[in-house]
């Protein structure tokens, strides 16, 4: 974990929360700035801002809160792979597991805090296909060359014995993937 990550004061945004701007053609103003107040507040702000029935100003005309220092490319990381703001007390010898994930084409990442392998990879700019993100569509199917994973929900999509569904598992060991 990098030092800059630990100094961030904005709370981690709750369960997976990816935010996408309106369209690829949206102008710079539409860029969403992550704001403090936690997941619920963020969701509410986005919701109200774009709700047709809302009488609140669109989000880009609201006063923009102090942006948190995030290096570009780390923006994903901030969401999925940043540590909890209030982590459990840690004891020596009981550190959170952290595993290296290496692809045969050379891409690599480190799984530390994310709630799924898919989120962790996305957070580190390793692109994996997805649709459901819940283990039933098979879009994220990936070949596991070495290592072991733990499924956080029962995978339903059909996979071969040497394949995993990154959207619903976390590593139990360092992984080599294809």
């Amino acid at each position: 974990m990098s030092a800059s990550a630990s100094s961030r004061k904005t709370p981690r945004v709750g369960r997976r929360r990816w935010v996408k701007s309106k369209t690829f053609f949206s102008d710079a103003q539409d860029e969403l700035t992550l704001i403090g107040g936690g997941a619920t507040q963020l969701e509410m702000d986005l919701f109200d801002a774009y709700s047709p029935s809302s009488d609140r100003a669109p989000i880009h005309t609201q006063p923009i809160p102090e942006p948190v220092e995030i290096e570009q490319g780390d923006l994903f990381g901030y969401l999925a792979e940043s540590p909890e703001p209030t982590p459990q007390t840690s004891f020596e010898g009981m550190e959170k597991p952290s595993f290296e994930v290496i692809f045969s084409d050379g891409r690599n990442a480190r799984f530390q805090h994310a709630s799924s392998l898919l989120e962790s990879l996305e957070a580190q700019d390793v692109h994996i296909e997805f649709q459901c993100r819940e283990g039933y569509c098979g879009s994220c199917r990936t070949r596991l060359i070495e290592g072991e994973v733990h499924y956080t929900e029962e995978p339903m999509a059909w996979i071969d014995d040497d394949e995993i569904l990154p959207c619903c598992c976390i590593p139990k060991s360092p992984l080599r993937l294809q």
Partner: protein, 376 residues
């Protein structure tokens, strides 16, 4: 074997294959040979939605403002989707229920088909909203050459299986003379047709539908027809489950986990499977040509859609244990994943617009690379 609606035989459920074993008697789910189908049923039930809950009032205005060639793209795409769901709303029931042998598989088929009827009803909801006389759209589905040609391929495997299966149910195996025509009924041939029919169903739901989804979402990507996109998101969520169901059936068969004869048949049919995928991919590319005949739209044209056809065909055929059949290995429409994901779909009219903002990867930057090199 004559069909019976309540089989009195005593038999061991776990010894039954998915199809062509004993007819199901008690609809019981305490013993499950293939638990995956129970999981699919539960998931599908949790997805329940009604088209009328999605507000489409903004789409009407959007549609009127579309240039003519984009109206053509939108309406043709909708016609195709209507055709595909008309077929899917009835065919799994008609084809598979008379020959199914496991209660969880039987109920999955019924649950699956039922969800297709919701899709069909949603097309009427959409068409009614954008066009004063919906009949203009629906009547053309059986007349339009481009649609009919694909309808023939889509339905051929179903129809052929249903016809042979009817003879089997009434007359059993053997050589029969019906109205002067000689009909040979063999269980092995029926199983072969069953396997290929399921492959063609998988092609329908996992490739053809995804091509149509890409068109629907390309409009929404430009903030047009977003109510429609919201309905399509819900349909896409169901289809993801259906294609998984069919992949399981096909893999259970091919791996001999159920009926050893089907494993042999699947092995023999490998070339036919590749041919079915290839034919569908070619047809979808032709369709792309028809869609964009009067002009492309921002973000999508014939070439990109054809690349997507190849990409998605590779994905689906490899899930069945085959090598990819096309070159392209990366998704030419990376933005589609966010639309296909339904994480944030909330079905309530006042929220009709919100899902388009709260989906997808955290990517608030315009990245022109995402468009590939399309021309208008």
């Amino acid at each position: 074997m004559a069909y019976t609606t309540f089989n009195r035989n005593n038999f061991d459920t776990f010894a039954q294959p998915m199809f062509f074993g004993e007819h199901v008697n008690v609809a019981r789910y305490d013993q499950q040979k293939h638990k995956i189908f129970e999981n699919l049923i539960e998931k599908q039930l949790s997805f329940f939605w009604r088209p009328e809950e999605v507000d489409l009032t903004n789409d009407r205005k959007d549609f009127m403002d579309l240039p003519e060639h984009e109206k053509h793209i939108f309406v043709s795409n909708l016609k195709y989707q209507t055709l595909l769901d008309s077929v899917q709303g009835r065919s799994p029931n008609v084809a598979l229920l008379p020959v199914v042998s496991l209660p969880e598989v039987e109920t999955w088929i019924e649950t699956w088909s039922f969800s297709e009827t919701i899709h069909s009803r949603s097309y009427t909801h959409i068409v009614r909203n954008i066009i004063p006389n919906p009949a203009v759209v629906f009547d053309d589905i059986t007349q339009n050459d481009y649609i009919v040609r694909r309808a023939e391929t889509v339905t051929a495997y179903y129809d052929s299986f249903i016809s042979l299966s009817n003879y089997y149910t009434q007359l059993g195996e053997g050589t029969h003379t019906i109205n002067g025509e000689t009909i040979v009924v063999s269980l092995r041939e029926l199983k072969r047709q069953l396997y290929l029919m399921l492959v063609s169903v998988n092609v329908l739901e996992a490739i053809r539908f995804y091509v149509s989804f890409a068109c629907s979402f390309a409009f929404a990507e430009r903030a047009k027809m977003e109510g429609n996109a919201k309905i399509i998101k819900l349909i896409a969520r169901d289809e993801a489950l259906h294609l998984t169901g069919t992949q399981h059936m096909l893999q259970i068969m091919a791996r001999g986990k159920d009926d050893p004869e089907l494993a042999i048949i699947a092995e023999e049919c490998r070339d036919d499977v590749i041919a079915i995928f290839l034919e569908a991919a070619e047809q979808e590319k032709e369709w792309a040509e028809y869609l964009f005949k009067d002009g492309s739209m921002i973000g999508l044209n014939k070439d990109i859609l054809s690349q997507y056809v190849e990409y998605i065909t590779n994905q689906r055929i490899s899930a069945l244990g085959f090598d990819p059949i096309f070159e392209g290995r990366t998704n030419p429409l990376p933005w589609i994943n966010a639309w296909l994901n339904s994480d944030n779909v909330q079905v309530a009219p006042q929220e009709a617009e919100i899902s388009s903002y709260l989906v997808g990867a955290l990517d608030s930057e315009v990245d022109t690379d995402d468009f590939g090199d399309f021309d208008l």
